[in-house]
Symmetry: C2
Subunit: 468 residues, 2 copies
């Protein structure tokens, strides 16, 4: 009757944001709902609004406004995370860095790149390539995933065994803290022991301790040879022997050691999928190895000699060496064709790590417990074995949350005994936080909470993600 708005506080907040940002900088209503909530999720974005700042100064100003109005902020990168780490509720502001993606500044001599958070991984890879350099992080979502998101989640991917995770590639960061402080720490050197290495706090903390706006990243000289082979093996013991052998003998050039349990290979290369199977199907294990070197064609000759040697030793069942870059790509196509698994049923996706010496027994145990409850389940296993990282996609042909919880228990519980982790590379987000205590101790979680409380006392940065 008096014309008062239903939500004067939220309205004042949005008005203030609107006067700070240009029209493209603030989305509300239908412009918000039209957006999804992530690669693997259905539903539409429920955020109160989406702020799309054009530069770091606007990020600072946005956080100041949010703090004043005590509105929570969910930072958003490319939206390709898999653990509900960038899901915003209706009382929260989604802070997307998608407009902060100016051309990366590459310095070919120091081999560094200064990159805006909203730059996609592929954009950076291409910019480096133009200078005959590489940014070695690589993962399937390269076209959408952003550098800011890669840092906030400490992304892994296909070449960790050689180049490490995102953490190892970050030299310096620019971060906006919860109180609006701009922490500009864009170190460009490989070595800098002048005081605490603050950037480590923000790498992998999923936007809960600060908003990453820019980074200085380490680039590498471009490789001149790329050799790959697809191998089949009859026992897990032989897979482990192969890992030790190739890691020792490829002398720093081994860049991928990707294992696929038989079910993965057989499903992906099923005739109706149109993906050729270079090796006979039906073996228990397949491994894709790749070496990146500086000496072509010498590297090729060595790679073949080495494979002949391991073949003669009886470790391999069969082997196919890629004869061309196209064939290398076709091997990777098998490894990357995870979407073909979706035809088996609604999938529950896991990303765990555990000591490789415990893997065979762990997978057998998970399968046994699944079979006891769901005889027709499918459990597909593959992963970055050289990094102790397995992916399990499991279907029990049900979308029931109770079934899901039972499957999660079966997968996560045994990790505790073997010192494994409920997340190797995807992070915790909302999805896994209930299980965090399975792989982190009470004093660890207390210290995480203390850090969160210290850096974000009002709890406005991505609240409820990781810890709660």
């Amino acid at each position: 009757m008096t014309g008062q708005k239903e939500d004067p506080e939220g309205s004042r907040f949005l008005t203030e944001l609107g006067s700070l940002l240009d029209p493209a900088g603030l989305l509300t209503g239908a412009d918000v709902r039209v957006r999804g909530v992530g690669w693997a999720s259905l539903g539409s974005c429920q955020a109160m609004a989406i702020a799309r700042p054009a530069n770091t100064e606007e990020v600072v100003a946005i956080l100041e406004i949010c703090r004043r109005h005590v509105v929570s902020v969910v930072p958003l990168g490319g939206g390709t995370g898999l653990v509900e780490g960038a899901v915003a509720a209706e009382h929260e502001l989604l802070l997307s860095l998608e407009r902060m993606r100016s051309e990366p500044q590459i310095d070919p001599m120091t081999r560094t790149a200064v990159v805006d958070a909203g730059v996609t991984l592929e954009q950076l890879q291409n910019a480096a390539d133009a200078h005959n350099l590489v940014f070695p992080l690589d993962l399937g979502a390269r076209g959408s995933a952003t550098i800011g998101g890669n840092i906030a989640t400490n992304a892994g991917g296909n070449r960790v065994i050689r180049f490490g995770m995102m953490r190892e590639m970050v030299l310096g960061l620019e971060v906006v803290l919860a109180d609006g402080t701009l922490l500009s720490s864009l170190n460009r050197m490989l070595k800098n022991n002048a005081g605490y290495d603050l950037k480590q706090l923000f790498i992998g903390s999923e936007g809960t301790l600060g908003v990453i706006t820019r980074a200085c990243l380490r680039l590498r000289e471009k490789w001149r040879s790329q050799n790959a082979a697809l191998l089949s093996l009859t026992s897990f013991d032989n897979v482990l022997k192969l890992l030790k052998f190739t890691d020792a003998r490829l002398g720093g050039s081994l860049s991928a050691f990707e294992a696929m349990w038989g079910g993965f290979y057989d499903t992906v290369t099923a005739p109706h999928n149109g993906i050729p199977a270079p090796l006979d199907r039906g073996q228990p294990y397949y491994v894709l190895i790749e070496a990146l070197g500086g000496d072509s064609p010498g590297d090729r000759e060595r790679f073949e000699t080495l494979l002949a040697e391991i073949y003669d030793s009886g470790v391999l069942q069969d082997a196919a060496v890629a004869e061309s870059l196209i064939q290398t790509m076709s091997f990777w196509q098998i490894r990357d064709a995870v979407e073909k698994l979706l035809e088996l049923g609604p999938m529950i996706m896991f990303d765990v790590s555990l000591p490789i010496s415990a893997m065979e027994e762990y997978v057998a145990g998970v399968r046994e417990r699944l079979a006891a409850r769901w005889p027709d389940h499918r459990c597909i296993v593959w992963g970055h074995l050289g990094d102790s990282n397995l992916h399990l996609w499991i279907t029990v042909h049900s979308s029931d949350p109770g079934d899901r919880a039972q499957v999660e228990e079966i997968v996560y519980a045994p990790l505790h005994e073997v010192g494994g982790s409920i997340s190797a590379e995807h992070g915790i987000g909302l999805e896994k936080r209930a299980y965090l205590s399975l792989t982190r101790t009470d004093p660890e979680i207390s210290l995480m909470r203390l850090l969160k409380q210290t850096l974000d006392p009002e709890g406005i940065l991505n609240p409820g993600k990781v810890i709660y």
Copy 2:
């Protein structure tokens, strides 16, 4: 008159410690004074006492006693640091982990080692070697420096370009916090994104945030070939070309790129030192490169071919390729013979990092300003060039603190403009803390103080080191 002790509180504190520890666990009086204060310092240890716990439980108990009595604790590793990071005043307790050095537990399959903090670097290297593995960190003080100290200072050394600093080799840590909490976080996997990566707080923070008692470290397969060459060059531009060329062409096997300015090489190989000079003296730059590979003798052939190619391109003045492991060692002997520099006068030692593209001008500027004030100064320059790390040892033939301060100003001030760092690998300790703000911003230093205050509210852990 009443028989009261002069220092009843200190005395009660020592009595309590004494009843906790066995007789070998607590040193006082002359047993303390007989000890030095570090590799590069004269004088005797001034600490109130030295506690030498036998296990982690005793470290926990010691910190609880210290907290109750508000006595400061200075953690001590091998005592080979160079920045007064483990110097204890007379009201402080020195906490030496020298008795915690049981045999490292090596797991050859997961290629990890669980190591007590007091184990020396060399002890770990040898233990890994017995399993045909390597722990790749290496530095001159390997026989004394401890793993705990290496972690607390994020040690660098000779092979960072290939294997990273200590930070990259730590998978998990056990740490005792200032309040006596035991933080056991002995992760064994290469990948673990389950929550905040807490170990990063303690690596490189020089004992100011916690006492490291144990670590799980990443080992590598042992290399099968080691090739080295000593090269001379006539311009810094050619040194940079050589770095890019070797890094690209050695495809992941380049393990050292150590540059020596002419003054270093000429001083060390002066005839009276008895260290042979494989290349003519008198050139402006020398570089020692090393490659570690998995394929002997194939690697040897490739190394020679590559050197011939770079030689033919005109980048090198002269080259000597090591014909044997003994000759490789003799090249390293030149690089490591820093003690020969001491004959030039009392040395002020610096460890800085800066973008390699700025190095030539930086060194010229430092020399010019030194020459203007001290025409007879000597400024010897060398370093881990591939890591952007230079060491400068400077003598102005004076031990006067005022002269020292002037030299520090000349070396440190220009780092600010080029985005360099006052410490690449040695840390800050007491020695460099006054200069920290030259290379870290006010918000960075404020955040360091906030972390210190949060983790050690009573300020009992190595107070005054790094920040103050």
